[in-house]
């Protein structure tokens, strides 16, 4: 992929994350902090489909943004053909890994498999 395409995605995911994380924080303000971490309340969040979908979206956006950011840091840390290839593929793999693991939690909880 062109570097400019990657960076458009990087900036785009950051902007979208600002909006969604703002909603996420506002939702948290509906109850006080201690209550929001109660077992039943946490489960209720995941069972409320629109909210669960939003959490999934934040997971995807920030995984893309975060792992691309990590790729950038690592590319600047050290140079070399093999190293740079390993960094790029490694970051994409880690990104899919994290999205898969997070999605598994969201989907299982949403379906009541707790």
């Amino acid at each position: 992929m062109r570097e400019s395409t990657i960076m458009k995605i990087h900036y785009g995911t950051a902007l979208a994350a600002i909006a969604l994380v703002a909603v996420h924080i506002l939702m948290r303000l509906t109850t006080n902090f201690a209550d929001s971490l109660e077992y039943e309340n946490v489960l209720a969040n995941y069972k409320f489909l629109p909210y669960a979908l939003m959490l999934e979206l934040i997971l995807i956006l920030l995984s893309i943004h975060g792992f691309n950011g990590l790729r950038v840091i690592l590319l600047e840390l050290k140079q070399g053909r093999m190293y740079e290839k390993a960094v790029s593929y490694g970051c994409v793999a880690a990104m899919f890994g994290l999205i898969a693991y997070g999605s598994r939690t969201i989907i299982m909880t949403n379906m009541g498999m707790t």
């Binding site: 400019s4 990657i6 960076m7 458009k8 900036y11 950038v72 600047e76 840390l77 140079q79 740079e84």
Partner: protein, 249 residues
């Protein structure tokens, strides 16, 4: 109106301590400093003080210079911690009796204050620093490519670059990323992309749109702070980014 007497103009001579970094990569393990007491007047430049040391104390100090008037771009060095041109920096403006000169950062040292410019010349060459178009002004009967003052204004500031490398020396990404194209070359890429006579925009943008290209600039802005010619490479880089993000065409 302020009266300026002859004494004021001639200025007093003060003795300052000039600390010169000495390093020969073929012999020395690390950089050391030699100190010299040199006379300085109001207008004495750091380069003049270094040449004074060469003439009167130690001829072996390695320093590169030529024009002595901020035009050739040879005498870049770190002066009291900041990348500057030695011929364009007066000792009096440093407000210190101790002046420390070191070779530029992010350049391999040849000896003492002289550094290798290969990387700068390579990256400068890479962005194609010439007008790209099929026709030429050089054919007989061909007219020169005309430009309006407004078109000239788009890039003329960036054409003032003297390739001194101070911006590359100040850039934090240059310090880490050995493949980074650097602020000097990026500013020159903008200089040609913004030139109405040039037709090579797409090929140039392609060259800098690389994993070690323009996107590795993280807006530190130190390049523009140290540029002695007011080029403002950081601004050129943001303008270039505009083309790649679709804000400019």
């Amino acid at each position: 109106m302020a009266q300026v007497s002859i004494e004021d103009q001639s200025g007093e001579t003060t003795l300052i301590t000039l600390r010169i970094a000495r390093y020969n990569p073929q012999k020395d393990d690390s950089k050391s400093f030699m100190e010299f007491e040199v006379p300085a007047q109001k207008w004495t430049t750091v380069l003049e003080a270094i040449l004074d040391v060469k003439k009167n104390f130690d001829h072996s100090v390695a320093v590169r210079y030529s024009c002595r008037q901020a035009t050739c771009g040879s005498c870049g060095m770190i002066i009291n911690g900041k990348p500057r041109l030695a011929c364009f920096t007066k000792i009096s403006e440093l407000n210190s009796n101790v002046v420390t000169v070191e070779p530029m950062n992010n350049f391999p040292i040849i000896r003492d204050l002289a550094v290798k410019f290969e990387r700068l010349f390579d990256t400068h060459h890479k962005i194609k620093p010439f007008l790209i178009r099929d026709d030429t002004e050089l054919e007989t009967d061909a007219k020169e490519f005309l430009q309006s003052p407004e078109e000239l204004e788009q890039y003329i500031q960036f054409a003032n670059c003297i390739k001194c490398g101070l911006c590359n020396s100040a850039c934090p990404t240059m310090a880490m990323d050995s493949s980074f194209v650097g602020p000097q070359a990026l500013a020159q890429a903008y200089r040609y992309v913004a030139d109405s006579r040039d037709k090579g925009k797409n090929s140039r943008l392609k060259i800098i749109d690389d994993s070690h290209g323009i996107w590795r600039c993280h807006f530190a802005g130190s390049c523009s702070q140290v540029c002695p010619k007011g080029v403002d490479p950081a601004m050129g880089i943001q303008f270039l980014r505009g083309y790649l993000l679709g804000f400019r065409s």
